[in-house]
Symmetry: C2
């Protein structure tokens, strides 16, 4: 038992306020001297928050720490028992509808905490809120800003080649088509726990090198794209029992790495990360668009969001893209036929 | 105080396990005799769960109830104090990284409960999981399935006309352009709390009647669409301080009602509901597509997800759309050039 744990236990015995049913020797109090410096990011939808503070951990006395807190999902097995002991305060009542604030009884952990300590500036930045900026990338902007950024960043994709050459992660491969032009490997995305089928998330990575993104696709890639669609969906049906019409199959633009890959997610997840219209392009639509016009993705203007920490954001900022857009935004919606009602809230 | 509340208070005094600091007279225990019949839906990402059970509420002895539980987001004002009293169990440790299960001390409510009691079958269905199905709507399917369904459903949009005629919600209008052809009203979406600017969500509803959806749009609507884009974004900048390049502006297909409207959401929300590539169409892209081809949305094949409770789903099912797709899905991904590795998990 660490000295922190011993102290925590002693403290609980001293003040006598603890509920004995809930205490066992494995409980500690890592955060007893936590000092909050700054909230880095909050997401009320996912009930997560990231904090920058200082913490005593191991030999480090009051070191910088990044603390990520996340409320736990509900546990069905203990939920009924837990509800019986839940205290409630009615906050609203109307006919058959009512809302309540409630205190759950703490029978099981209600939080997951991830701690990085000692943390560097880089960790702090990684978990901070970054301002989003919309880019409408025309073919000219692609040529003059995006492509030079990609070329200069020299972002290594050796880890992708390691997967394709089965140097790493070969045991995770769900299906492989080894054809050098049409082939791909399909494997679970790191974000999927590989247990909950409702959250199924797989990625197909093409064997062919040099197709960086949507922008490089033309009619010569239709057999590759159609092969991924057909065989990827068939493998998912076979291995996980999820039918083609229950899957969302898409490419990302911007992608997180510049080697062509396709995302397969279960439709049961409504609006999961990566399905945003500002990032996802349905494989079906991509195939249709190239059939309609082989140069579709060389001519298209494509919208996406950048964050102020992104390398590409810096390039667009340096190209004065956002400055120009700002000044193009009209500052006043009033015209002769409109009435502006200022909303007070 | 209701008899339920009195009983709850008495019980707490009787068993003596309560923490006196946390108890006040406003606390009740609505769920003390809750019997769980079925979990209707779980969402581990948003930490929500909907339950069907029975409950004693008011005069109803053991009535059917739908209970929606949602974990509360973190409250920054009390977080540091709360963390000091949080007990933790280390679940993983690697170098500077560690994860912990934690019990928060119950200083403030940790749940929001919404109760519908007595609940009907309709309520239970509304909050149940519904199987999603992907539709690739071709122009033929639109004409032969979607349009007849729309015509027969006779879904009332009187409430929309009430807003446009300022019979209801006029105090919520942020901006109005009263032009009968190009005009619209912009008002907060019901899903937005109207406080947190990061979650800003507004809807522009056009004054012109009869434009049912994306499918009805052609070059004659470009001035209307461009007017909504320009004046909507300018009003948001003026009233809420959010710039055009920080907004996601899109139409939904299928829309939730067949009178043209445009959604404005803050980009700071990553993948909020309604931003899914299977539903959202960027206004910028819609304008570009119609500029390229005035009949774009009459010719396009458009993908979207239906749920098995939807009226339109029934029409597609009756048209044997999903049956046909099922049999078209290959059942085996094996070909001579592929190796299937069955993933065990």
């Amino acid at each position: 038992m660490s000295s922190t744990q011993e102290e925590a236990k002693k403290r609980k015995l001293d003040d006598g306020t603890g509920d004995q049913k809930e205490i066992d020797n494995s409980h500690s109090s890592l955060f007893k001297d936590f000092t909050l410096k700054r909230v880095l990011r909050e997401d009320p939808r996912s009930k997560t928050i990231s904090l920058h503070g200082s913490l005593t951990k191991g030999q480090h006395v009051s070191a910088d720490a990044v603390v990520l807190l996340e409320r736990k999902p509900f546990e069905v097995s203990t939920l009924e028992d837990s509800l019986h002991k839940t205290r409630t305060t009615e906050t609203l009542s109307n006919d058959i509808y009512s809302t309540h604030d409630a205190f759950s009884p703490g029978l099981s952990p209600d939080l997951k905490a991830t701690v990085i300590c000692p943390a560097t500036e880089k960790h702090i930045s990684k978990y901070s809120e970054h301002e989003p900026f919309l880019v409408r990338e025309t073919p000219d902007l692609y040529k003059n800003v995006t492509e030079p950024c990609m070329a200069q960043s020299k972002f290594s994709i050796q880890w992708v080649y390691n997967i394709l050459e089965k140097k790493t992660e070969s045991e995770r491969i769900v299906v492989e088509d080894s054809d050098p032009d049409l082939g791909f490997v399909l494997l679970p995305d790191m974000k999927w726990d590989r247990k909950n089928i409702d959250q199924l998330y797989l990625v197909a990575i093409v064997h062919k090198h040099g197709i960086r993104s949507l922008r490089d696709l033309g009619s010569e890639h239709l057999p590759l794209l159609e092969n991924i669609r057909t065989k990827g969906l068939a493998a998912i049906k076979k291995n996980f029992g999820v039918a083609a019409h229950q899957m969302r199959v898409c490419l990302h633009y911007q992608p997180s790495y510049y080697h062509l890959h396709v995302h397969f997610t279960n439709l049961r997840l409504d609006s999961p990360p990566g399905s945003d219209v500002l990032r996802a392009h349905l494989l079906d639509d991509v195939i249709d668009n190239i059939h309609t016009d082989p140069d579709f993705y060389q001519k298209a203007t494509i919208s996406y969001a950048l964050r102020d920490g992104d390398e590409l954001y810096k390039w667009y900022k340096n190209a004065n893209y956002f400055g120009t857009e700002e000044s193009e935004t009209p500052n006043n919606a009033n015209t002769e036929s409109s009435t502006v009602v200022v909303w007070l809230g």
